[in-house]
C-alpha cells in the first residue's frame, strides 16, 4: 500500500505502548502498595516495587475483620457475588419471559405492556432514588439480598434486546414447531433458548458488571456489614483512619473488588464486545 509510512507505524506502536503503561499505572501502584506495611508505605512517596508483606495483607483482609467494617472481605466478596449474580440471572430470566410474551403472542393490551416496559429505559435509579428507597424500606427489604437485587432488576434493557433478537427468528420455525404439536413452553425450552445462548452470555457479562459495580443503591440499602458490598466498603475504609489512611488495606481490598469483574471481562471478551455493540446501538 502506497500510503503507509513505516515511521508512522513505529511511532503509533510506541504511543500505544506508552498509553498502555499509563493505563496500567494505577493498578500497578495498587499492587505494590498492597504488599507493604503501613510503616514502610509512609516513608516517602508511594513505592514502585513490592514490599516485604507479600500476600500477608491479602490474607489479613480476607480472614480477619477489617478496621471499621466489622467484617472480613470474604463476606463482602460473597455479598457482591450474590448481588451481581442475582441481578444478572434475574434480569435475564424475567426479560426472556416478557420478550417471549410480547413477540410470540397476540393478546389485548400487548402494545400497552410493551410501552410500560419501554419507558423504564429512560430513568436511571439515581433519579428516583429517594422514593425507591422508601418502597424498599416499607417492604422490609433493608439489609437483605432481595433488597439489593430486586429494585435494580426493574429496567428493561434486557427485555428490549431479547425482543430484537426474537423478531429475527424465522416464522417457519414456530410454524414447524406447532405442526409437530409443540406448545408455547416446549417451543421456548427446546428451540428458542438454545438459539439465544450467545445473547444470554453477552447479557450476562454486562449485567454482572453492572450489578457488581453498583454503588449508590447498596450504599443506601445496607447499613449493616453482613450485607454490604465490597465496592461500597472502600469508602468506609478510607474514612476509618483517624490519622493515616491505611492505604495497604484499602488497596488490597480495592484489588479484590476489581478482580472478579475484570476476570469476567477478560475471560468472556468475545461475548462482551458483542453484547456492548448490540446493547447500545
Amino acid at each position: 500500500m502506497r500510503y503507509r509510512r513505516r515511521g508512522l507505524d513505529i511511532a503509533s506502536h510506541a504511543l500505544l505502548i506508552l498509553a498502555l503503561i499509563a493505563f496500567c499505572l494505577p493498578v500497578w501502584l495498587a499492587i505494590t502498595a498492597a504488599t507493604h506495611d503501613q510503616a514502610s508505605l509512609y516513608t516517602g512517596t508511594a513505592p514502585l516495587w513490592f514490599g516485604s508483606e507479600g500476600l500477608d495483607n491479602f490474607r489479613a483482609v480476607l480472614t480477619e475483620p477489617v478496621g471499621r467494617l466489622g467484617t472480613d472481605v470474604t463476606r463482602l466478596l460473597l455479598n457482591s457475588t450474590v448481588m451481581a449474580l442475582g441481578i444478572a440471572l434475574g434480569k435475564i430470566a424475567i426479560a426472556i419471559l416478557a420478550a417471549y410474551a410480547i413477540v410470540f403472542f397476540r393478546f389485548p393490551l400487548r402494545r400497552l405492556c410493551f410501552w410500560l416496559i419501554f419507558i423504564t429505559l429512560m430513568l436511571p435509579v439515581e433519579v428516583r432514588i429517594m422514593p425507591t428507597y422508601k418502597v424498599a424500606a416499607d417492604l422490609g427489604l433493608l439489609n437483605s439480598y432481595v433488597g439489593l437485587i430486586l429494585p435494580l432488576i426493574a429496567s428493561a434493557t434486557a427485555t428490549f434486546l431479547f425482543r430484537q433478537f426474537y423478531l429475527t427468528v424465522p416464522p417457519e420455525l414456530l410454524e414447524a414447531a406447532r405442526v409437530d404439536g409443540a406448545g408455547p413452553w416446549r417451543f421456548l425450552k427446546d428451540i428458542l433458548l438454545p438459539l439465544s445462548t450467545t445473547n444470554i452470555a453477552a447479557l450476562f457479562v454486562i449485567m454482572f458488571l453492572y450489578g457488581w459495580n453498583q454503588y449508590l443503591w447498596p450504599l443506601l440499602i445496607t447499613t449493616e456489614s453482613d450485607h454490604m458490598t465490597i465496592v461500597v466498603s472502600l469508602k468506609r475504609l478510607l474514612s476509618s483512619a483517624d490519622n493515616l489512611v491505611p492505604w495497604q488495606t484499602v488497596m488490597a481490598t480495592a484489588l479484590l473488588a476489581m478482580l472478579p469483574p475484570v476476570a469476567v471481562i477478560v475471560l468472556m471478551q468475545r461475548y462482551f464486545v458483542k453484547g456492548l455493540v448490540d446493547a447500545e446501538k
Partner: protein
C-alpha cells in the same frame, strides 16, 4: 410474525414477573417522586402539607442549585470530551497498525470492568498529598496538590478517574467504527496526494460522526449518573461543594439533610433536564451528522 393464538393466560403468566417488578420498583416510586415534589414533609414523617410549586420555586431560587448545575456541566463536558478525544486518538493509532489492533483492544478494555468507586480510590491514591506518585511529581514542578483543600484539584481528580474508566468503552466503539471505513477510500485519497492529517479530517472524521454522536450521548449519561461512586468515594462532593453535582445534591438533600420535598423537586427537574438534553442532542446534533 407467526404467533401462538389460542393462549389467553400464558402471555400474562410470562409477563407477570417483569410487570410486577417494574410496577413496584419503578412506577410506584417514580409516581411518588412526582407527588412528593409538591409536598413539604416533616423529617420524622409525621405529616405533610401540599405546597404546590413552592419546592420548585425554592430550588430554582437558590444559588446553590445553579452552582451544582455549573459544576455538573463542567464535570460532564470534561469527562465526555476528555474520554472521547483520548479514545479516538488511541483508536486511530491502533487502526493504523493492522497487526496488533486486536491485541491493543484486549489490553485496553479491562478498565471498563472497574467500578467507578474503585477507579476513584485508585486515582485518589496516586494523587494523595502525602504518598501520591503524581502529586509528588507535581510537587517537584512547584504545584502544591491537595484535593482535600483545593476545589479545582478535587474536580480534576474526579474528572481524571472518570476518564480513565470510560476511555476503554469509547475505544472499543471508535475502533469498530474505524475498521468499518473502506480502505479503498483512504488509499484513493492517498494516491490523490492527501497526507494522513488531511485524510483524517476529510474522510475518517466525518464517517465517524454517527459513532461520535452515539458516544456523546452515552458519555453524558455516564458522567451524569454513574460517576456518583467516583465522587462519593474520593471527594464526597467537597471541598466546600466544589464537586457537588446535581445527582450528588439530590442525594445530600434527601438522605443527609432530610429535605424530602426539595430532593424530590430536584429529581423531577433532573428528569426534565435529562429529557431536554436528549431532545436537544437529537434535534441539533443529528442534523449535522452524516449517516
Amino acid at each position: 410474525m407467526a404467533t401462538f393464538q389460542r393462549h389467553r393466560v400464558t402471555p400474562w403468566l410470562l409477563l407477570a414477573p417483569q410487570l410486577a417488578v417494574v410496577a413496584i420498583f419503578f412506577f410506584w416510586p417514580a409516581a411518588q417522586a412526582m407527588l412528593q415534589a409538591f409536598y413539604v414533609e416533616d423529617p420524622f414523617g409525621l405529616g405533610r402539607t401540599f405546597v404546590a410549586f413552592e419546592n420548585f420555586a425554592r430550588v430554582l431560587a437558590s444559588a446553590e442549585y445553579y452552582r451544582a448545575l455549573g459544576i455538573t456541566v463542567t464535570f460532564s463536558a470534561g469527562v465526555a470530551l476528555g474520554a472521547m478525544a483520548l479514545a479516538l486518538l488511541l483508536a486511530v493509532l491502533a487502526d493504523r497498525v493492522i497487526k496488533g489492533a486486536g491485541a491493543y483492544k484486549a489490553l485496553l478494555i479491562w478498565p471498563y470492568a472497574v467500578a467507578p468507586a474503585v477507579a476513584g480510590v485508585l486515582w485518589g491514591f496516586m494523587l494523595d498529598p502525602e504518598l501520591g506518585l503524581i502529586s509528588a511529581g507535581l510537587g517537584a514542578l512547584d504545584i502544591d496538590w491537595n484535593h482535600q483543600l483545593n476545589g479545582g484539584q478535587a474536580m480534576a481528580l474526579v474528572v481524571m478517574a472518570s476518564i480513565w474508566k470510560q476511555m476503554s468503552y469509547n475505544f472499543v466503539f471508535f475502533l469498530a467504527g474505524l475498521q468499518a471505513i473502506p480502505r479503498s477510500l483512504l488509499e484513493a485519497a492517498a494516491i490523490d496526494g492527501a497526507g494522513p492529517w488531511r485524510r483524517f479530517w476529510t474522510i475518517t472524521f466525518p464517517l465517524l460522526s454517527p459513532t461520535s454522536f452515539f458516544l456523546l450521548v452515552m458519555n453524558s449519561v455516564y458522567a451524569f449518573f454513574e460517576t456518583f461512586g467516583t465522587i462519593d468515594a474520593t471527594t464526597a462532593g467537597g471541598p466546600g461543594g466544589a464537586t457537588r453535582t446535581l445527582v450528588y445534591k439530590v442525594f445530600e438533600d434527601g438522605f443527609i439533610g432530610y429535605d424530602l420535598g426539595s430532593s424530590a423537586a430536584q429529581s423531577v427537574l433532573l428528569m426534565g433536564l435529562v429529557g431536554l438534553l436528549t431532545l436537544l442532542q437529537f434535534r441539533y446534533l443529528e442534523r449535522r451528522v452524516q449517516y
